[in-house]
Every structure is written in structure tokens, then in C-alpha cells.
């Protein structure tokens, strides 16, 4: 009984969270193309990115397990469209952020977001 009383609220909270696949659904985006775009733009210059052997820069935060993260840059909700806009032109949606605008097309930025969400199984 004691166990149930402790676990039940916990189970209820877990049940509230939609499964990650639905939460981070990116229609028409490709994680494979995303990794190519990450290499081309040089995201690894500042970030450690799972699946990217080099570069593994340390001046920005590690992007390991990004799907599990609640917020982008500690301030924006971690939703697919927000992440896609952020990787492309961070200062436009979060003025004052260190992250600069990166040379990515809209489609590429969606691919990059799809890749970051797809890395959690690694």
C-alpha cells in the first residue's frame, strides 16, 4: 500500500508525457541529411554531438541526448519547430544568445533538428 501511494503519482506524471516520437515528430525531415548539414555548417566547432567524431568543440554545450532536454538554451520549449528555427537563426528567436545564425536552409534546419532528436538511442 505504502509503495502504491508513493508510486501512483509518479506513474501518473509519467503517463502525462507523450511518447518522445510523437513529441518530436518532424515530418519530411531526414536525420541522415541532418548529420551531413551539421558537418557542412561546422556545428561541432562548438558542440559535442553524438555520432560526430570530430570536431567535438567545448565552447558550447554538449548536445548529447537532446530529445530528453526540456528547454532549448535553457529558455525556449524544446519543440521541433522551435529547435529548427533556433539552429538556423538563434538570435532571431532568442535575442542575446551566444549562438549565432548558421548557414542552413529551412529544410536543412529541420533535418538538423531531426538528427538531434534521433540521437537518443545511441
Amino acid at each position: 500500500m505504502q509503495t502504491i501511494r508513493v508510486l501512483l503519482p509518479l506513474l501518473l506524471t509519467i503517463a502525462c508525457k507523450p511518447p518522445p516520437d510523437e513529441m518530436h515528430h518532424m515530418p519530411q525531415a531526414s536525420a541522415t541529411r541532418g548529420l551531413e548539414a551539421i558537418k557542412r555548417a561546422g556545428c561541432g566547432t562548438c558542440h559535442r554531438i553524438p555520432g560526430l567524431r570530430w570536431p567535438r568543440g567545448a565552447s558550447g554545450p554538449s548536445l548529447d541526448g537532446f530529445a530528453e532536454q526540456g528547454l532549448i538554451a535553457g529558455r525556449l520549449p524544446n519543440r521541433p519547430d522551435t529547435l529548427a528555427s533556433f539552429v538556423r537563426d538563434a538570435p532571431a528567436i532568442l535575442p542575446g544568445t551566444t549562438m549565432p545564425a548558421m548557414p542552413l536552409s529551412e529544410a536543412e534546419s529541420r533535418d538538423v533538428a531531426a538528427y538531434l532528436y534521433a540521437t537518443r538511442e545511441r
Binding site: G42, T45, P55, R56, A58, S59, M99
Partner: protein, 309 residues
Amino acid sequence: MVDASVIPVFDPAGPYAGSIATLSWILVAMAVAVLAIVLAALGVALFGSPRLKARVGGTKVIWIGGIAFPVIVLTVLLVYGLSLTRNLTAPVPADAMRVRITGEMWWWRVAYLDRDGRTTMLDANELHIPAGRPVVLELESNDVIHSFWVPRLSGKLDMIPGRRNILPIQADAPGVFGGQCAEYCGGPHALMGFVVIAHEPAGFAAMMAKRRSARALPAGEGAALFRSTGCAACHRIGGTAANGTAGPDLTHVGSRRSLGAGILPNNLGTMMGWIGDSQSIKPGNRMPPYKTLSANQLRELAVYLEAQK
């Protein structure tokens, strides 16, 4: 990381690389043929009938197959190989463009020269050439032995301290060609890349003329930061007081395709990351990390540098 990050070595783009590629294919074909003969002999030794073994096992076979055959084949190959690649050692046309490239730990100093060998323009890590014409490179080193290698344009030649080695290169058509230091030179040797950009001759002349003409220097906070942070102790920017020579010349850094000696794409983000902590990207390189700079300062500095076309 640049378009030329994986460099094809069997895909020549000019006459100098072409003769080397032909020779390489001939060597591969001969190695395959010799391997086939050796394997056949091994097969006879293991599985052949006693009669067959007796026939091929005599002293005569050793004299012919073991001594005469290699001497003849290797002599022919030596003569053929030297004549095939003689364009690499032939005197270069006197009117060919000359560039001095100096190996540094772990980047390349580039100096465009006039006919009398005087420096006309400084640059680093990238070389612009006109397509369809031979260009003469004077290879030197300021510290240890490096080796200059742009596989699609020419051969591989060492850069030796105290010596000047001459290497002709040529690209038959405009394009971007990757290069790599090919002699272990310490720590980040593997991250010592090079980029050659071949232009249409008219476009090349226009680009060089534009570089030589007086330019509007970007001002603002970035320029002040470049001075106050001490960047100028190692880096030069033509037309400003920045006159350091220990590190790469940054006069045209904003027009480069790559950063960190041919290894990273060049954009505002990679420039910020490189200045902020290049040691996490290219460990051991001689540029210290500037972790004391604020995000805003990093950006201003990067904007200033990206404007140096």
C-alpha cells in the same frame, strides 16, 4: 570538413598529377600480376604433381624468375617511370606564376611572388591559382619537416628547413582541391589541411586585382577588440596596425573557404568557436583559447574578421 575533406588520390585534375596517377596504376597492375605468379608458384608447390614440381623446381627457374625477371622488369619500370614523370622535374616556364609556401606547425604560410621573387601578397592556408596554367611553388619550412600534398594537382614534396624545393602544380579546370600535410610534424599534424582554388584566368586576375586595391576597413567594436585582446601580436591584417607574423595572415580571412588550416567550414559560428576555444577543436595548436571573452565580444570579433575579404 571542407568540400575536399576526403581527397581522392587516383583522380588527377592536371598534367602533373596525371603522370603520377598513370604510373600508380601501372604499379598496381604489375603488383597484381606478380602476386598472381607468386600465388601460382605456391599452388604448384602445395598441390602440384611430383612431375610438375620437378619441372618448375630447377635452378634455371630461380635464375630466370628470381634474378633475371626482377632485374629486367624493375629496370624497364625505372626508366619508364622517370620518363613518364619528367614533367615534374623539367624546368618551369619563366613566366609561370610563383608562390612561396612555408610549412609551419600546423598551418601554411602563403606568399604570392612577382617574377623577381619579391612578395606581392600574403595569405595563409589557401591558394588561388588560374586554371590551365602551371604554377610554381617554392616549398620551405620554418620549423620541422612538413610535406606539401595536393593529390589531384601534383606530387608530394617535402618542405625541409633551410632548403627550397620546387613543385609545379596545375589544374586543368576551375575547382576546389584539398591538400594535406603528408609528413608527420607533431601533435595536430592530421589537422593540417590546405585548399587550392582554381579560377578561370579572367576571374583570377579580377580577384587578385580586387584584393590588391585599397579596401574599406571594417571598423567598430570588433576592430577595437582585435587590438585590445592582443590578436595583433601574432596576426597581421594588411592596412591596419596589426602586424604579427607568428600566426596566419588574416587580411583576407573572411574570403577563405576554411578555418583552422583547411579543416573547418568558415562562417560566423565556426569563427566564434575557433577564437573561443580552438584547443578543443585542434588540440596542441599554438593559438590559446580565449575563454575570457564574453559571448558578445566573441561575436564582434568574429564579425570583424569575417568582414576581412
